[in-house]
């Protein structure tokens, strides 16, 4: 039975009609396209009147298919599918084609634009006739959630969910939660003590009945899909029995092996081989760094084991891999600092008193290696002049094209701390001051009042090569004061490099595990940069904090909370709809050649060694269709994008091209020229 197709061409006011002869397109479609029984144009198809018109036609004209030529399906596909559904038609039998963004708005010639519109409508009509009714699928949502990363974004997300009564598995790579924020002394622009506002949150997480805290642990493998993920987590061997340890700290105190702490102290201080990164660490249970421990080096010492009052030390502990089941995942994996040695002209690593911003955070932290005293590397001299260099590795196409977002404000904070704690003069070398959040510009004004010197110019180099006696023994900062248009040199004692915030080194690789993608730079890609900032293209996986892009604490907290709210929404609803656009394999015809087996990054294709056929796990399939195109036997079908539908679309879109009917395929040939006299 032939399909009965309705074609609806929208004027969109004058948006489409201004460049496309919509009446002609509708007339033409009605007159020329096979199986079209109704073809109408209308001022605003998406209006309730427009929708009602379609619904009425479906009922009256017994339409079996609908084509709407209007704007982008990304805007109104849902609208028209719903209208069709209201009239009792399966929503997947409605096809939209884009006559606005792809035709009227980009064209200058009315005739050619109208031709293009006809081709697109023709393509949709041919296609829609071959579309099949599809039913959306639903899966139940496991109410537990995995949060990856125990920085401020992850902590916020964890608490929001746990407080709402849902279970959270919080996985942190380091021995303690807290993240970068735990390293800071003060936070801008309010100058709250970082520890004072962070540690209560940390201990709340540590004690929460709804939180399973897994520190010194890493996510190894994620399988399953939205609603039902299975996650393998490697708990690295702490060498300390978690249940027995009371966190008394005797072990660390007595441990004879001291090493430089490159992580928490950013190389500015030391820790023991058995340690918690900082006194307020959560959990308080220490870990043994086996690479530095004397016992693991030569089976001697064992001081910690001997002195532990609860016998909690276990040198033979092994890594343990556990599996948890969750419905949603929040990635809050944070950022890493740019390696300032990559810019040799700033002298970091060569000139002692050039510091990175993280080093300086530790330097002025009251709990840091100098007890918060701002002194040079010699440990005693207070600097008389301090230069702070912005945009080190940021806004530089050789390193990172992006603006790191926090450096201007952090530089102001540093300036304030130096001015407060020392007699030094402070210079800030900036390209553009960016202080665009609540209270930020006010803070900038405050620093201007406090006497911080602002110089507009990217520093060219920091050197110890003195040109005149006044420069001897100093670090000389050479730059152009761009407001004066003059090259200058200023001798200082200390230089602080505001290094760029970069994606974690393993962000791409880890993203693959989660099935989420990265920008070229390595930041996780959100579903929509404005309207869906914490969701990703993978349902059930959300991102929060600086892993999605450089951001400060307030923004990270907001994202943590936002991600938690999205997850709560999923949990409350209890089930999720999965678009039925999935692949399927005709097992009867599959020869088991296994070409498709490596096609799916979501591992949705499994091979059955018994039957020697491949099979699609529908719940894992995201519908990209790559396996469909790869199948040499042509036995994989992509629902809603199958070969017949696309071939028909190609034929329709080329309705005016030179082709003669094609006698191909195994069906009997179409008419060919024959000798008339025979």
């Amino acid at each position: 039975m032939a399909e009965r197709v309705g074609v609806y061409v929208c004027h969109c006011g004058s948006n489409i009609a201004g460049m496309v002869d919509v009446e002609e397109v509708a007339r033409w479609a009605g007159a020329n396209l096979k199986d079209v029984v109704v073809a109408r144009d209308y001022k605003f198809m998406c209006s309730s009147l427009g929708q009602a018109m379609i619904e009425e036609d479906i009922k009256k004209e017994k339409l079996t298919r609908v084509v709407v030529g209007a704007c982008s399906p990304h805007l109104h596909e849902k609208t028209f599918r719903r209208a069709c559904q209201n009239a009792g038609m399966n929503p997947y039998l409605c096809q939209m084609t884009n006559l606005r963004e792809h035709v009227s708005w980009v064209s200058v010639d009315r005739k050619l634009a109208t031709e293009k519109a006809k081709a697109l409508v023709s393509a949709s009509v041919e296609r829609v006739k071959r579309q099949a009714p599809l039913e959306p699928m639903y899966v139940k949502v496991n109410p537990a959630t995995l949060v990856i990363g125990g920085g401020i974004a992850g902590l916020q997300a964890t608490l929001e969910l746990a407080d709402a009564g849902y279970h959270v598995y919080l996985v942190e790579r380091e021995p303690s939660i807290g993240g970068h924020m735990a390293q800071f002394d003060k936070t801008f622009p309010t100058l709250d003590c970082s520890a004072c506002i962070l540690t209560p949150k940390m201990s709340e997480v540590g004690q929460h009945e709804n939180v399973t805290l897994l520190t010194y642990a890493e996510v190894e493998e994620v399988s399953g899909s939205v609603g039902n993920f299975k996650v393998k987590i490697r708990k690295k061997a702490r060498s300390v029995i978690y249940q027995k340890c009371t966190g008394c700290g005797i072990c660390s105190e007595k441990c004879p092996r001291k090493v430089v702490d490159d992580v928490f102290e950013a190389g500015m201080g030391t820790r023991k081989a058995i340690y918690t990164p900082f006194p307020q660490a959560v959990p308080r249970v220490p870990v043994i760094d086996r690479a530095s421990c004397i016992w693991f080096e030569r089976q001697k010492c064992g001081a910690c084991k001997k002195l532990c009052p609860t016998d909690a030390i276990d040198f033979d502990q092994q890594d343990e891999v556990i599996e948890v089941e969750v419905g949603n995942i929040i990635a809050a994996t944070g950022w890493k600092m740019f390696d300032c040695k990559r810019i040799p002209q700033y002298g970091y690593g060569r000139l002692a008193n050039v510091y990175t911003s993280l080093e300086f955070e530790r330097l002025c932290n009251a709990a840091g290696p100098t007890g918060g005293k701002i002194v040079l590397r010699d440990g005693k001299t207070e600097p008389k002049e301090v230069a702070i260099i912005h945009c080190v590795g940021s806004r530089d196409v050789k390193y990172n094209e992006h603006c790191s977002a926090i450096c201007c404000m952090a530089a102001l904070k540093f300036g304030h701390l130096v001015l407060e704690k020392t007699q030094a003069k402070v210079y800030s070398f900036y390209i553009d001051m960016r202080t665009n959040q609540k209270g930020y510009e006010e803070f900038y004004q405050r620093l201007l009042e406090e006497g911080m010197v602002f110089v507009r110019g990217k520093v060219a180099e920091v050197t110890d090569a003195a040109r005149k006696p006044s420069e001897q023994g100093k670090l000389i900062v050479q730059f152009e004061d761009t407001l004066l248009g003059k090259q200058q040199r200023i001798p200082v004692d200390m230089v602080i490099l505001m290094g760029a915030l970069e994606p974690q080194a393993d962000a791409k690789e880890f993203g693959l595990k989660l099935g989420i993608s990265c920008s070229m730079a390595g930041w996780y890609t959100e579903r929509h940069p404005k309207l869906d900032p914490v969701a990703t293209m993978t349902d059930g996986v959300f991102v929060a904090g600086a892993c999605q892009g450089a951001k400060d604490i307030p923004a990270s907290v907001a994202q943590g909370a936002a991600a938690a709210a999205r997850v709560q929404g999923m949990i409350t609803k209890g089930k999720v709809m999965i678009e039925p656009i999935v692949a399927s394999i005709d097992e009867e015809s599959c020869s088991g050649c296994r070409i498709c087996n490596t096609m799916c990054p979501y591992n949705a294709i499994e091979f059955d060694p018994e039957k020697e056929v491949s099979r699609v796990i529908t719940a894992l399939c995201k519908g990209c269709g790559t396996c469909v195109a790869s199948c040499p036997a042509g036995v994989i079908t992509g629902a809603h994008f199958n070969n017949d539908q696309i071939f028909a679309e190609i034929e329709g879109i080329l309705w005016d091209a030179a082709a003669s009917p094609h006698g191909n395929g195994s069906a009997a040939a179409k008419p060919q020229p024959t000798a008339a006299s025979l």
Binding site: E588, C590, I595, T598, S630, A633, G634, N664, A668, Q672
Partner: protein, 325 residues
């Protein structure tokens, strides 16, 4: 058998003749055929003339097994004639099904082919450059030769075809299956390819695993391991895309499938299936590396992907210099 005998015709167009021999491979069963059918036309074996066929009523022949592609006007005439006189027309073998080996000549045109065949080959002595002409005047009158086309066609690009029996040549038991089906009137829907709806891998005994290809190798470059999938050993085996029905004869003797059974059901372009599948499993992500693997490993893409199916492919032939502009 009380039923009156049916009428069978066989014809040989542009092909090597292997299909004719394949019929004889039926061995003793050929007697059953002879018992069931009167062979009314079979130029290679039976003394019946074209004019005998022309004299028949339309549809008088019950079954015609037509092998070979259409390359000349005479072949096209015979295809039309036999179509009209036969109830069931079967495209028999790769050449009539898909163009077969003769259709690789679609990479050239008539002039190039004539030049090579009648002038450039080392064994040819033709200093005056005399090429075959459709008409030649001799004292006795005009001599005619069939017109040689630029493009080889399949049988179904020439006349409507009822069934296809693929293979180069079709396997004897497949032929017998077809004949049995005809005799017992159990033929499937018209237009069917009489083979399996799966590919050669299904019948190939080799062990297959996930595929990642770093290098395509030519057959002379490796002595393949007898157990593992030939494709996984880098050999360009067409079994993945080729309709089953042959029993995986070639891979079983360590030789990669060359694709004579043609594409699976519903496939519009056999070569495209191979290209898509093979390219998909190339283990490289840089354009240069991908290019290198393809260009080094597959120097002759058309010969590799369309060995039997160029005429039947979507593009049918190489761009003809005179066409279009």
């Amino acid at each position: 058998m009380s039923k009156p005998k049916g009428k069978l015709a066989l014809y040989w167009a542009a092909s090597c003749g292997g299909c004719e021999i394949a019929v004889l491979q039926l061995d003793a069963k050929i007697l059953d055929v002879a018992e069931a059918f009167d062979i009314v036309f079979w130029p290679v074996a039976v003394d019946a003339k074209v004019r005998d066929v022309e004299r028949m009523a339309d549809g008088e022949i019950d079954v015609c097994l037509f092998n070979g592609a259409i390359r000349t006007s005479e072949q096209e005439y015979m295809a039309q004639l036999l179509r009209r006189k036969s109830k069931v027309l079967v495209a028999f073998g790769s050449c009539s099904h898909e163009g077969g080996i003769p259709a690789i000549a679609n990479l050239n045109n008539k002039n190039e082919i004539f030049q090579t065949s009648y002038r450039d080959t080392p064994s040819t002595e033709n200093p005056n450059g005399v090429y075959p002409q459709p008409e030649t005047q001799v004292p006795e009158g005009t001599l005619h030769l069939p017109v040689f086309y630029d493009t080889v066609r399949t049988l179904d690009q020439t006349v409507p075809v009822d069934y296809y029996l693929p293979g180069c040549p079709p396997e004897a038991d497949r032929i017998w299956d077809a004949i049995t089906a005809i005799l017992e009137n159990k033929l499937p829907a018209a237009g069917t390819v009489l083979g399996d709806d799966t590919t050669v891998c299904d019948t190939c005994p080799r062990k297959r695993s996930e595929k990642k290809i770093k290098e395509f190798k030519r057959t002379w470059q490796v002595i393949p391991d007898a157990e593992t999938c030939l494709l996984e050993q880098g050999l360009l085996c067409c079994g993945i895309a080729t309709r089953a029905g042959c029993g995986a004869l070639c891979p079983q003797v360590n030789s990669p499938c060359i694709g004579c059974y043609g594409p699976n059901n519903g496939v519009q372009d056999y070569g495209a299936r191979l290209m898509a599948a093979l390219a998909s499993v190339i283990d490289a992500n840089s354009p240069d590396e991908i290019q290198r693997i393809i260009e080094q490993g597959i120097p002759d893409p058309i010969g590799s992907f369309y060995r039997f199916s160029l005429a039947h492919s979507l593009l049918r032939r190489k761009k003809l210099a005179k066409a279009g502009e």
